[in-house]
């Protein structure tokens, strides 16, 4: 079996008596297009927060490639190749789009500690940022402050920043959240065009997007993995239907 890009072993998290992650064994294959779905309160956000290092797990292990990153700091995980986007846009709102992406690239390149040569004369960083914005179709907005962009474009900037870090594994936390439905097609297009060697885990509520994007789906319910399979298997699974119908009726 190929080495997994990201893996968890018996990952648990509890807040007092409340268990929000219960012995999660999860594998993300290299180059995967994998979706994590589940009803509200299933523990998806907690799981992502543990993967990225925002929350420390109560027990269990997280492996990035072959490396144990369970105790690794959030920023160090990023440098090891674990990129993410946020469910709620987390951007440098008053800075231009180009700077938003360039700040990330500078960190990856180790240029962020340079104190002498002006940032605007770091042409290689600016060119790389522009190229990225161009691929995502937001190059024309490069000099506009992020806060002046429509929300759908802000979501694209969020993805551009993550790509600028050249991650091996990319966690997309509801990339289409809050985006008007006519714009979510553009997001899907962008996701479909992402480099094949990046292993992608997408956490998403928009089932349409999930079933079009993912080759594998994991369903999380009450902190446990209910089932994992191909989109067809998940669509046919009676337990999954019950969970989602149950939620719809609640």
């Amino acid at each position: 079996m190929a080495e997994s890009a990201l893996q968890t072993e018996k990952l648990c998290k509890s807040f007092g008596a409340l268990t929000v992650a219960d012995r999660i064994d999860f594998r993300l294959e290299a180059g995967a297009r994998h979706a994590l779905i589940g009803p509200n309160g299933a523990g998806k956000t907690t799981f992502v927060n543990m993967l990225t290092g925002v929350l420390a797990p109560s027990s269990g292990r997280i492996l990035l490639g072959a490396q144990d990153i369970t105790r690794t700091r959030q920023s160090a995980r990023v440098r090891l190749g674990l990129g993410r986007t946020f469910q709620i846009t987390t951007l440098f709102r008053s800075l231009p789009v180009l700077d938003n992406v360039a700040l990330g690239i500078a960190e990856r390149e180790g240029a962020a500690r340079r104190m002498w040569k002006p940032a605007s004369r770091h042409d290689e960083i600016k060119q790389e940022a522009m190229a990225l914005l161009d691929t995502l179709g937001v190059a024309q907005d490069a000099s506009i402050a992020v806060q002046d962009l429509p929300y759908g474009r802000q979501r694209l900037v969020e993805i551009a920043i993550a790509l600028g870090l050249r991650p091996k594994v990319l966690l997309l936390d509801e990339p289409a959240a809050g985006v008007p439905s006519q714009d979510s097609g553009r997001i899907l297009e962008v996701l479909a065009g992402l480099p094949g060697d990046i292993a992608i885990l997408i956490i998403e509520h928009d089932m349409d997007l999930v079933f079009r994007f993912a080759k594998r789906i994991t369903v999380l319910v009450q902190g446990q993995i209910l089932v994992e399979g191909t989109p067809e298997e998940i669509a046919r699974d009676q337990r999954v239907r019950d969970v989602y119908l149950g939620e719809a009726h609640a």
Binding site: Q74, R113, A129
Partner: protein
């Protein structure tokens, strides 16, 4: 099409900024030279203003750019002042550059040690910790009167001629030029720093710390680094004050000088580089004038000034100037647009 976007003031720092020195940026230096030649009787005040500009510049670096809020920046200023003073008065080291270097080193050490301790905290906790540190130093300086002169202050500070050539004269001519050169070098350094990738990164931390972590920045260590740089500059400013006054008073430590400095920076405009120039000029001249006219109530005037700025000019005096410039240029650009 894009040319008719909203009028923006040129951005300081970042990958889209222009690092070229604009003509207006030479104005403070021209003004300082003009001051030197035309107002010789005010050179002592002028020297003090230059020192406080350097001090304010160091605060702007951490407060305005990195977003570190502090009420304890006088700790470094005071430590620098006492280091220079004690070296001269107690140990006979009178070389001005040696005193500056020693003060810088001591302030840097204190900056790294306290920064590493407190920069994991934020907001009110951080504010209280910075205040605690300078208050502790104040008490130490107060008790260790054998070394610091305690409440009476440290006198007997002598400073050898600069490079063995320029004596500190009674009229403050040497002191003024000496401080001006120190400030110019400090300004060049800070300006370079904020336009660099490091400066852009600091802006990123202030704008959105969570995002900075998520692009892999070791935020805490970066903050410790910039805090240490800022502390070093503040220490140099403190040492300059000692050399110019040939005296160190307890009032270089504690809440009051920290608060005064914060007021100066807010008056001028936080995070704008030149706010650190405008603030001390306005504050110290107002203080000088008010203290002569109303010796008992001069703080009232400063307070009123601060209230006016905070209520009507959130970006400080420079922020207000920005708004006026924008208002002035708007009719012109709309006229151009309608001419099409």
């Amino acid at each position: 099409m894009a040319a008719h976007g909203p009028v923006r003031s040129p951005r300081l720092s970042g990958y889209t900024s222009n690092p070229r020195i604009r003509w207006a940026e030479w104005l403070p230096w021209i003004a300082a030279l003009a001051f030197f030649f035309t107002l010789p009787e005010y050179l002592a005040l002028g020297g003090r203003i230059l020192i406080y500009i350097l001090f304010a510049l160091s605060l702007d670096l951490i407060l305005g750019y990195a977003g570190i809020i502090t009420l304890g920046h006088s700790a470094f200023f005071g430590l620098g002042a006492y280091t220079a003073g004690i070296l001269s008065a107690k140990y006979g080291f009178t070389d001005p550059f040696f005193q500056l270097a020693a003060a810088a080193a001591m302030a840097a050490l204190l900056g790294v040690a306290t920064g590493a301790l407190i920069l994991r905290t934020k907001a009110l906790t951080l504010l209280m910790l910075t205040l605690a540190i300078t208050s502790i130093l104040y008490e130490v300086a107060n008790r260790a009167s054998g070394l610091t002169g305690g409440n009476d202050g440290l006198s007997g500070v002598t400073v050898a001629p600069i490079l063995g050539l320029f004596k500190f004269d009674l009229f403050g001519r040497t002191a003024f030029v000496y401080c001006l050169i120190a400030l110019f070098l400090g300004w060049l350094f800070v300006r370079r720093l904020i336009y660099s990738p490091f400066g852009a990164m600091l802006t990123g931390i202030r704008e959105n710390t969570a995002r900075m972590y998520a692009v892999g920045a070791p935020v805490y260590w970066r903050l410790v680094l910039v805090y240490t740089i800022s502390a070093t500059m503040a220490g140099v400013a403190g040492a300059l004050l000692t050399q110019v006054n040939q005296f160190v008073g307890l009032n270089v430590l504690g809440l009051e000088p920290s608060g005064d400095l914060l007021v100066m920076l807010i008056l001028g405009g936080v995070g704008r580089l030149y706010g650190a120039f405008v603030g001390p000029v306005v504050y110290l001249i107002a203080q000088d004038y008010l203290a002569k006219q109303y010796p008992e109530y001069w703080y009232l005037g400063i307070g009123a000034l601060l209230i006016v700025v905070v209520l009507f000019a959130r970006g400080g005096i420079l922020g207000l100037a920005d708004q006026w410039l924008k208002a002035l240029s708007r009719p012109k650009s709309s006229a151009r647009a309608s001419a099409r």
